[in-house]
Symmetry: C2
Subunit: 196 residues, 2 copies
């Protein structure tokens, strides 16, 4: 056992964070030990608590500490609409708009055959069961507009279209505040087709 | 207490890491909870252990779990040479060159009047006591070649030049404006050989 053992273990543990290499990990460890030990202990407690207490909501699959999350339990939400998103971050982006009052289903991932992520890994069966609860009338596909997100939306569409549900996709178009000159051609083409 | 409490606390705690904003923190929290709970618990333990067990070496001020670090205790090191560096990362960059067999003093910072960091904050008094132990004959100033690093080297030079010690600075083979941690090993080795 070398005498820098705890420090080395900490650097290795920080390297498991996404986007953190050995130099960033060393810098983080140095910062915490030299300038913010209270922060190190706070992070230690927060990690333990979250890893032990945060589970998936039984209904929408997002992260929650309860069996069913607050959004799913909220009686003011419109139970006839179900919005399908890839991650809790996407869900909170939609929530911040204040423009949606229905419920959500969070896939916690997307189809990605190249990475070996298939329909079972992102719980599509659970989504299909959830969408057929008798209350949901419209499923809004709000997966990302990337190749994987589009493929995921396509598979969900195929799986649900025989069940009498209205299936919609977020509109594609020119972002608010942008200038046409700088928008890519695919987006402009979609915006033209979907003009209203 | 909302039902996303543990998750929110975790995101806030991750934001205390240097270079991590709210989006990176959310991404890290999501990754750990969705794909690597073992990593979250390992990081939690590593942070607690390091924050509780890692202290400063009594002699060279670097991070260690013992009272005196392994480098300072190593009888094969040349006790007549003392190399002054800013951080443990700088020290390990010098160690990796294999070109230096003396001892170290790690400032754990640098003079930075704009940030309110003066001689007391980086333990210059402790360095002066350490350098005058009767064994040290040469002090090698290996602070970074930045404005703050140069100022720090200057102040140490002023403080020690009356005490009969040989004072050298890493040769200017090291590119001006760069930090040791990121310089290639060959350049550092040349700078050590050409110290003046």
């Amino acid at each position: 056992m070398t005498d820098t053992n705890s420090l080395e273990v900490l650097i290795q543990a920080l390297k498991r964070l996404p986007g953190v290499g050995v130099k960033s990990a060393s810098r983080m460890a140095f910062h915490l030990l030299q300038h913010d030990r209270a922060g190190a202990l706070a992070l230690s407690r927060a990690l333990k608590l979250a890893a032990e207490e945060v589970h998936h909501c039984e209904r929408c699959h997002t992260f929650t500490q309860a069996e069913v999350c607050a959004t799913c339990l909220d009686p003011r939400r419109d139970a006839s609409k179900l919005c399908v998103v890839e991650t809790p971050a996407d869900q909170s982006a939609l929530e911040r708009t204040g423009a949606y009052k229905g419920l959500y289903f969070v896939l916690m991932g997307k189809l990605s055959p190249l990475d070996g992520i298939g329909p079972k890994d992102i719980g599509l069966k659970k989504l299909f069961d959830r969408a057929c609860d008798g209350l949901v009338q419209e499923v809004i596909l709000a997966t990302n507009f990337t190749a994987e997100g589009e493929a995921t939306a396509h598979v969900i569409n195929e799986g649900l279209k025989a069940r009498g549900l209205r299936l919609t996709r977020l509109a594609r178009g020119v972002p608010v505040g942008s200038e046409l000159e700088y928008v890519d051609l695919g987006t402009i083409a979609h915006a033209l087709v979907d003009r209203r």
